[in-house]
Each structure stands twice: as C-alpha cells, then as structure tokens.
C-alpha cells in the first residue's frame, strides 16, 4: 500500500473528529481493510464510494481504488494475464492523473502505473513465448498505448521494433511448420511493420528476404514429379515474383552489413537460382574472403 501511514492517520482523525457521511466512512474503511489485507472488503467499500453521488466525484476515491485494485491484482491475480483488477487499477490511475490538479500525489501514481505496465509487457512477452499470439497482441496494445500516454516524451521505437521482431519470428516459425498463407502473411506484415518504422533495420530486411526466399524454395520442393509440364511452368511463374521480392531486402541487408556470412550465402544462392551466375560467383568470392580462404 503506497498511501503513507501519516496520510492514513490524518484521515482517521478527520473521520472521527469531524461529522462525516457514511460514504466518507466507507472510504476510510476501504483504506483500513486494505491495510489489513482484507482486499475483498476493501474493494466493496471503495466501489460503493465510487458510485455514490456524494463521493463519486472525489478524485481521491479513484486514487485509493487504484491502489486497492493494484493490491488485488498483485496478491490475488498475478498469474492472470487478463486480470480485470490490473485493468481497473490502470483505469483509475490514469483518470486520477487526468483530473488531479495537485502534483503531490502524481509520483506514487506514476510509479504504480509503471509497475503495472511492466507486468503487462512481461505478460505479452510470455504469451508470445507460449504461442498465445492473440493474447500477446492485446496485452502489447494495452501496454504500448498506456505507456505512450504516461510518457509521451519517451521514444518507444526500440521497444516496438523488438516486440514486432519477436512476433515476426513466431509467425515465421509457424509458417515453417504449417506452410499456410495465413502464417506467411502474418510474418510478412510483422516485418513490413518494422521496416515502416525503421527502413534500415538490418534483421528485418534480412529476415523478410529470407521469408520470401524460403517460400519460393518450398514451392519448388513441393512440386511433384507426376505433375505435368504446364504445372512446372506455372510453378516458375509463381517463383519469379517471390525471388524479386526477396532480392531487394537481402541486398539491403548486405549494404547494411556486408560482412554477415548468412547474407552472403543467401545472396549467392538466390542469384544462382535466379540464373544470375556471375553475381552468384561474386558473392561466393566475397564469402571465401570473409572466411579467410
């Protein structure tokens, strides 16, 4: 509980020294229950104060409610990635910050929001890691929107790129197994999004090139010997656009980092499979020089 003990006793004094309504007492009861870790009772009292006409416009109600719900989240619901307590706490704190005219209580409020946002971020990451992609995206969206609102002066580009890189990797892995257009498109969109934010991002350029190239090779691998000549020609028609899509990204990756071995290998291969033998040989030569041969 972030509300200081002094504040707590001040309000207790006021509660008993001055004539107060039942709703005001509800607020103090909520604080007391919270202190005693009787969170459900605290919640009932503060929720009652939130809706009552006498106290609903008191911004301190939302301030205290934020902390009570934060505690409910931390002590009851931390493993729940979809925790309503966390959502409510954030909502209360943000509303408090919007209407609060005194700066004094802002720091603990901001600090607690940051704490909750970190938990959102971590849940987004672990969701992605456990292949709960839709949930990861929802949590991420909540995180980044709230973070930008809280810290408008901060640059979130690196964090966003890191998240989408991981997302693209998960989708690429899914595509490697499934070979479905849906998974391919999702991976593609994730890399394209990164490049829209940072066109010189080496890994997004490289991996998008690889994605297109791997799709092309899958087309060829899947082609059966029992398919007729027309099928072979049609397959080549589908291959060419993918190679043309892969090449500029791999070339860009090469420009950004000419000493990356895998890029040279990839370019050598893609030029070879595109029948550009001279360019392929050039890449192979650079590879030899890189390997010290």
């Amino acid at each position: 509980m972030r509300v200081s003990v002094i504040t707590y006793f001040v309000f207790l004094y006021i509660a008993f020294a001055l004539p107060l309504s039942a709703q005001r007492i509800n607020i103090y009861k909520a604080l007391n229950y919270d202190k005693l870790q009787l969170y459900d009772s605290a919640r009932i009292c503060i929720d009652s104060a939130l809706v009552h006409p006498e106290t609903k416009d008191d911004i301190m109600v939302q301030y205290y409610r934020g902390f009570i719900y934060k505690n409910l989240y931390v002590y009851r619901d931390k493993k729940n990635k979809k925790s309503i307590y966390r959502d409510e706490a954030l909502r209360d704190f943000f509303h408090f910050l919007e209407v609060n005219t005194s700066e004094a209580l802002n720091p603990p409020c901001v600090k607690t929001i940051d704490f909750l946002l970190i938990s959102l971020y971590n849940d987004a990451v672990t969701s992605m890691y456990s292949n709960q992609i839709e949930l990861a995206l929802k949590l991420w969206e909540k995180y980044i929107t709230s973070y930008k609102k809280l810290h408008p002066e901060k640059n979130t580009l690196d964090t966003e790129i890191q998240f989408y890189k991981s997302l693209a990797t998960v989708y690429s892995d899914a595509y490697d197994s499934s070979k479905t257009e849906v998974d391919f498109n999702k991976a593609e969109q994730a890399y394209v999004y990164i490049l829209s934010k940072d066109s010189n991002n080496w890994s997004a350029n490289y991996n998008l090139g690889v994605l297109y190239y791997n799709k092309m090779t899958s087309l060829v691998k899947q082609q059966g010997y029992d398919d007729d000549l027309n099928a072979i020609l049609e397959m080549q028609e589908r291959m060419t656009p993918l190679m043309k899509q892969a090449l500029p990204y791999l070339k860009k990756a090469y420009e950004l980092n000419p000493k990356h071995r895998e890029t040279l290998v990839g370019l050598a291969e893609i030029y070879y499979n595109f029948y550009e033998y001279e360019l392929s040989d050039r890449m192979k030569l650079e590879l030899k020089l890189l390997d010290g041969k």
Binding site: Q162, M235, E237, T240
Partner: protein, 173 residues
Amino acid sequence: MVSKVKYGVLLFFLFWVNTGFQTQYDTNSKIKALFIYNFSKYIEWPEDYKIGNFVIGIYGETPLAQELEDMAKTKKVFNQAIQIQKYSSTSEIKKCHMLLVTSKEESKLTECISKTNTFSTLIVSEKEGFGKLSGINFVVVQNKQKFQLNKNNIEKRKLKVGSSLLALGIPVE
C-alpha cells in the same frame, strides 16, 4: 526495470535464434529434373528400348546428378526403373535413353553426339547456342528455365515427340 530487462533478454533470444535460410536448396536442379522426367513421358522410344532400365546418362559434373538420383529412387518411366549412369570420359558412354551433356563439358558435345549416333538416345544439353546440335537444350529466358526442342535431331534418332512437349518447347530448326 529489472523485470522488463529480463523479459527483454528473453525477447532478444527468441528473435536471435531464428535468422538464416532453412537449408541451401538448388531449385535449378529440381526444375531441370522435373523437365527431364517429363521428357521421358512425352517422347516415345523404339520397342527395344522399352525393356530393362530406363538409362539416363550424365556426362560431366553437375549438381543435377544428385537430384536425378533421388528421383530415380521413387519414379519409373512407365514400367521401367530409372538408372542414372555417370560417365567421366566419352569412351565410357554406352547405349542409354538420354544423355545429359553438362555445360562444363560443352566442348565434348559433338563427340558425345557422335558416340551415340547409332543409338536412340535423346541428347540433352544446357548451353546457349547448342540447340542446333542436341535434341533438347536447356536455356534461361527472363530468369526462367525453358528448353529448346530440335524435332529433326530427335526424330533422326527414331524418337517420337509428343505434341504436349512440342507445344511447350522453343522450336529450333
């Protein structure tokens, strides 16, 4: 901050392990092998060539050899098992249904043709300009694999070309 750093590292690792091509794969060889198998389907050999194995000879080094060997493990030409026969010199060349003369051995094409003159062997080459010499010549047109087809050279060897193959090949007089 520490928690965010921990998961940031996790994210980085999750990303870092997945860079690179799946495997190095020679699509050109696969495409040529697909064509070669189709040549066997759409060209008719004389009756005495329909007994025993369907022999595809390869003269010269080529990555296509591995693809053809893999194909031979599972495919047949009608009822004939496919046998891949590699030759390292023209003196080794024997009767075969097809003879692929690789681009590295372009200087030996005429010799190969001469060596198989009495056989119903489809000569397959892969060098620009060789369409007039061989029966089928692989060429690249706008970054795509195509093939030239010399009907006269093929028919001289008592082979009959199916209309499907004729329609898709680039004719060479």
